[in-house]
Every structure is written in C-alpha cells, then in structure tokens.
C-alpha cells in the first residue's frame, strides 16, 4: 500500500503548486453552477413539485452535482493513452507495482486536491448564492458518501477501460469525446433521470452510468426510500464488480499484445 499512498501524496503536493489552474476552474464552475440553478428556477416557475422533487431540492441536486463533477475528473484514460503513445508506459512497467494501482493512486490524489481546491470553494459560493445545500438527513449523507465512493470506482473503471483501447488504437480522440458526452447525458449529472419518459428511464436505470451521479445525488436529497437505496446500492456494487472483472480480463489480454513505441 505504501507506494500508492505516497504517490497520492505527491499528486496532492503537485496539484497545490498550480494556482492559476485552480482559480480559473473555480470561476468557470461557479458560472456553470449559477446558470444551471437559474435554469431550474425558470423551469419550475413556481410549481410546487415535479416528479416528487421541489425546487429547493433541485438546486441542491445541481450544486452537489457540479461539485461532484470536479471530484470525478479522471486522468486515467489520457494517462494510459499518453503513456502508450509516447512509449513511456515501458517505464511504468519496470516497477514492481501494478501500473493500474499507480494510475488509480494518481487520480485519488488529484481527487483529494480537488476537494480542498475546488469542492470547498464551490460549496461556499453555492451557499452564499442559493443557501446551504443540506442533505435530507445525516444518515442520508453517510449513505451518499458510500454511494459516491462506489460511483467513483465505476467511473474510474469506465475511464480505464476506454484507456485500454489506446493500446490498440494509440489515440482516443473521438472515442473520449463520445464517452464524455454519453456520461454527461445518461448519468443524471445535468438532468435527473426522473425527467425522462418512463420507458427510456427504465433502460437508463439498467445501465451503469446512473450509479455515478444520479444514485448518490438521489440519496442526498432524499428522493429514494430506504428499501430502494438498499436495492440500488446492491445493483451499484454488482456493476462495480462486473466492470472490474471485465477490466481485469482485458488488461491481462492487453499486456500480451503491448507494443512499445519508439527506440
């Protein structure tokens, strides 16, 4: 465990050194948060509840969603693609550690840095403009944290799976864009799935994407009953395990066909 923790620590240290990056991100994210909240205020237009969610909860949902978006930034897919393209993946493979363990540690380090640099400032700004985005209860908050953690892993594995394609194609380009777009739309990060037509929603609820944003956020604002939370968290864990297995099989296959670029 030691090397991985140390890598995360170094990542936090490195991230703290880049201040300009942080300030510009916060400014843009504040703008996104503000615009989205205004959108929901206009959309509700005084209506009490839509699909059992009131306007206050919807603004909480949006604020937390934007904050989560900053924590769920995954470097792994570009990291793999870049290492494969430049050939530096060779250097990673020369260490007596798992390279994917290193990549995960790096992303977790970035996530921790983003928590202090982005999540907290955004929460403060959100609180000042729209009031504190409070969870439904303390228990809901704890369940949210657990669900968020599993969602993080699912998101990471999906990114890593895409990264593996780079071993074959060398570049991700349009693939990465398509994935980003699908994720945004189908995970409930912008529009909660309960606004979609029932049939479409049922399909989306079977896919892994909603486990990343929609499920933790739904738990946070108290949209789900306890029974539903249990069931859905079980399903989330199931997806996490399935994706992990798939990743492990593919990752082993890829290491057999690995090509090192240059020299």
């Amino acid at each position: 465990m030691k090397p991985y923790i140390f890598i995360s620590k170094l990542r936090i240290q490195t991230a703290l050194a880049y201040r300009f990056n942080v300030i510009s991100t916060i400014l843009i994210q504040c703008l996104v948060m503000y615009a989205m909240s205004c959108f929901w205020i206009a959309a509700y237009n005084g209506t009490e509840t839509v699909s059992g969610v009131n306007q206050r909860d919807m603004i909480t949902y949006t604020t937390i969603s934007v904050i989560m978006g900053n924590l769920l930034t995954m470097g792994v897919q570009d990291r793999i693609a870049r290492s494969v393209r430049s050939g530096s993946v060779a250097l990673d493979l020369l260490k007596p550690v798992s390279i994917y363990g290193i990549y995960l540690a790096e992303d977790l380090g970035d996530c921790a840095a983003a928590f202090f640099q982005k999540a907290i400032p955004l929460l403060l700004v959100g609180t000042v403009i729209f009031g504190f985005p409070a969870p439904a209860s303390f228990v809901h908050f704890l369940l949210f944290l657990f669900s968020f953690a599993i969602g993080y892993l699912i998101n990471w594995i999906l990114a890593a799976l895409l990264g593996l394609c780079a071993f074959k194609t060398l570049r991700l380009g349009p693939l990465a864009n398509a994935k980003g777009f699908i994720m945004k739309l189908l995970s409930g990060s912008i529009f909660p799935l309960w606004f979609f037509p029932a049939g479409f929603r049922r399909v989306l609820e079977l896919l892994p994407f909603m486990n990343i944003y929609q499920l933790p956020l739904g738990i946070y604002i108290g949209q789900y009953t306890m029974d539903e939370i249990l069931l859905r968290t079980g399903l989330q864990l199931f997806w996490c395990a399935v994706l992990w297995l798939l990743f492990d099989i593919l990752q082993k296959k890829m290491s057999a066909v690995i090509l090192i670029q240059g020299g």
Binding site: P3, L10, L91, P96, A256, I258, G262, G263
Partner: protein
C-alpha cells in the same frame, strides 16, 4: 553462474503496410495489408554474474526489443528467458524488483518533483529499508556528487545531471542486473567520462551484472569484457573485444619516416603507400611483430620516426555490420 539465460528468443510483430498519397489513404480505410516482421530472430546467449556486456548493433537491429523482453515489458513470440532463474514474462514484478533499467532517451524521473522526491518514491516502490536506502544513496553520491542538485526540480536539470539522476534512481534498490540503453547519448565529454566511471565502480563494488547497448564505441572499449553484436535480429558476433579485433582486423599499420625518399619492401608486410620519405606498412600481428619489422627495415635505411596504428574500432564494427548485411539476401 549464469544470471541471464536466453534461448531461441523470437519476437515478431505485424506491420501494417500503408499506401501513400490520397488515393492510398482512401484505400487504407478499406483494405489493410500487413506483413510480419521479425525484430528478434532466434537469439540465444547466457551472461555470467558480474560481467559487463556490450550489446551493440546498428539502428533497428533489435537491441531495445531484446532489452524490453528481458525486463518483462514485451512478450516474446517464442523462446525462453530466465533472469535470476525467473521468467520475466511469468513473474514481472519479481524480476523487476531485482532489475535497474536506464533508457538514455527517456527519463524515469518525474518532471514536477524535486530529484530527491523521486528517490523517496522509489524507496517506497521497491520497499527499500531505511538503512539500505541511506547507505546506497551515500555510496552513489560519493561516485556521482548528486548532492548539489538533489533539491532541484527535475525539469531544471541539465541533460548530464538528469542522466546522473536516472542512473542513481536505477541503482537505489541495489539490483543484481542493470540494463543501460544508450546511457551516454547526447552527453558532453566530461559527463560521458563520469557516467563511464560510475558504471565501472558500480560493477566493481556491488558485482552488478550490466548489459549496455550503445552506439558510442568508446563506451564499449572502456567498459565491456564481452560484446554481442546483433544485426537484423540475429547475433552475428559474440566474444571479447580483442578476439573480435583479431578476427575482423588482424592487421596493424606501421608508419615509418625515413631521412630521405626511399622504398623498402619487406616479405611479411605489405607496403600500402609511399609518400616521399613516409612509408606505410600493413602487417598481420600473427606473422611478424612491429619490433621485428622496424629492426629489419632499419638495416636497409635509417629510420627517423615510427608510428603504430591499431585498426580502429569504428571500422571494425562497420565491417561486422556490413558482413551481416551481405549474409542476408
């Protein structure tokens, strides 16, 4: 004891043939022709513990591919590799725990960190004990004087400093085997000298087995007890440098300046040029000694100045490369 054993190693890969031009580009979208290339073609060798072996060959000969297979990064198409008795393909982590690798063209140091932080990271990755780490760093510092830039961010290091950092990084966990892939590339004379000194010292102090690939034949001459020459994926020579010289270029040149223009032939030496008072003889070492030749000639005409030229290592290696090319149809 053999620390590295390689038998019948083959690495093939598919190369996609692309046609040129716009028309070719469109065609490539639909049909792709591929051909199989053998980068490494049935190579076998064994290396004893504590040796420094030069692994040389022209660009694209398959040197780096071999090194990458030895370190477990690449999977061979067929053949067997054992490093310390372990197959790097089956147990990569155990093999690399005992392996140091430096690629001259690629740094394992992290750009964003200070040099010392990279070392700290490596200490954890290889799980080096505090005491061993301190001893090793102390010893490496003694040879290399890295103290003066250990707190500098890696991106600000000069190439020579970076290379020293990379070599220290590869040796921190006191590996038994060290692979150096062009460690002196792009370095100035002084830095080259200190890298060579480092390699020698490491080899002597810790009995580290070193495989060195390089295009700088000065490295080979100074460091290697044995050279393996590879071309187009095949080993074409394997032996000590002296043996190689005797085999490829068994002759030397003797340059004699007489007091006046003269021509003095000798039965065991070929007179290859006569330019006024200067004559150049070519002779085989096993036929006559230089002393004898000089003595014989001085009986005929008084000698003013004598010079002896060994065959140049560059020329020898070039001859070997060319022979390899001729052998391939």
């Amino acid at each position: 004891m053999n620390i590295i054993e390689v038998s019948h190693l083959i690495k093939e890969y598919k190369k996609i043939k692309k046609e040129s031009g716009l028309r070719g580009a469109v065609k490539n979208l639909f049909v792709q022709k591929s051909e199989t290339v053998r980068a490494v073609d049935d190579i076998s060798f064994a290396i004893e513990k504590g040796n420094i072996v030069g692994y040389i060959g022209p660009n694209g000969a398959g040197k780096s591919t071999t090194v990458k297979m030895l370190s477990g990064i690449l999977q061979p198409t067929s053949g067997e590799i054992l490093v310390n008795g372990i197959s790097p393909q089956r147990d990569r982590k155990r093999v690399v725990q005992n392996l140091g690798v430096v690629f001259g063209q690629r740094s394992q140091l992290n750009w964003d960190l200070r040099l010392g932080e990279t070392f700290e990271l490596l200490k954890r990755i290889y799980q080096i004990e505090d005491k061993t780490y301190k001893d090793n760093l102390g010893m490496l510092n003694e040879i290399f004087q890295i103290d003066c830039f250990i707190d500098t961010p890696v991106r600000q290091l000069s190439l020579g400093q970076r290379m020293r950092g990379d070599l220290v990084a590869a040796m921190l966990h006191s590996p038994d085997v060290l692979f150096l892939d062009e460690p002196t590339i792009g370095l100035d004379v002084e830095a080259k000298y200190s890298v060579r000194k480092f390699i020698k010292e490491i080899n002597q102090r810790s009995q580290t087995t070193i495989i060195l690939t390089t295009h700088d034949l000065g490295d080979i001459q100074e460091l290697c007890q044995r050279v393996i020459i590879i071309n187009e994926g095949k080993i074409i020579e394997d032996g000590s440098l002296d043996e190689l010289i005797d085999k490829i270029a068994p002759y030397r040149h003797l340059i004699i300046d007489f007091y006046q223009s003269t021509t003095v032939p000798h039965p065991h030496a070929e007179l290859i040029s006569v330019n006024e008072a200067r004559s150049v003889y070519r002779f085989r070492k096993d036929q006559i000694t230089a002393a004898r030749l000089i003595e014989d000639i001085s009986h005929t005409a008084p000698i003013k100045e004598v010079g002896l030229e060994e065959a140049k290592i560059d020329d020898i290696i070039r001859t070997v490369y060319q022979q390899g090319n001729v052998a391939e149809p």
